[in-house]
Amino acid sequence: MERVPVLKLGDILIVSIQIDLQDQGVLALQEDLADAVVESGARGVIIDITAVEIVDSFIGRMLATIASISRVLDAETIVVGMRPAVAITLVELGLSLGGVRTALNLEKGVALLEDRDNAGTVAVPK
């Protein structure tokens, strides 16, 4: 079974899904990520789906589950890079991905996590 590598950058874990995952691969990723969050003490998880051509209800549920699991483990999950056609299809399918934060790309995802880390310590008046 193909596995998706989990990369660590500072206190962020980054996963980029580059292959058409079968259901077992999706479940394995869920477990690998939960382990990696605990092992690394990461505060954020970014899942890059730029290369993902479809998000069906199974993958959608996986994204929501990963978000819930990492929240329980004190990390925030951000899904980045969703293609427009995927977003349209997902909503029509009936999945709203409630509870999953998204950002348009990796850069914005990282910025969101950094904002959150700073929010507790410094007030930023603008």
Partner: protein
């Protein structure tokens, strides 16, 4: 002109093969990127249903024509336990398999034509069509 291919749905990796084959056919009949994505997503849901609820089956992928308009017809068939209450099975959120209950109802929204036939004890056949615009 009618081209058809038939693929087995017996193991998890077959769902991936079905998605890829439907994608190729959808491109060939000239579906837009959004429509390709919709029909591949519907195919993924229906192939998984065939596997999870019936223990397997097959899909027929056909290129169809309606005048000048091309389209893709997918027929998922199995000899599984069948669906006792079709209306209930098509309700958003209804599931007997521990999923989200969006497979059938959601797929129906993603395609142009949707037909569900099922006889308890004999099997289920789901036929969907997506037309090029």
């Amino acid at each position: 002109m009618t081209d058809a291919i038939e693929l087995p749905i017996a193991v998890n990796s077959d769902v991936v093969v079905v998605r890829q084959r439907v994608r190729t056919s959808a491109q060939e009949v000239g579906l837009s990127l959004v429509d390709q994505t919709k029909v591949v997503t519907a195919a993924s849901e229906l192939a998984r249903n065939t596997l999870v609820y019936a223990g397997g089956g097959r899909v027929r992928i056909e290129v169809v024509n309606n005048g000048a308009r091309g389209g893709l017809r997918l027929t998922f068939a199995d000899e599984g336990p069948g669906i006792p209450d079709l209306e209930l099975a098509l309700t958003d959120g209804w599931t007997t398999g521990g999923g989200l209950g969006l497979g059938l109802s959601g797929s129906r929204r993603l395609v142009d034509e949707f037909d569900l036939e099922s006889k308890p004890g004999e099997g289920t056949r789901v036929t969907v069509v997506k037309w090029a615009r």
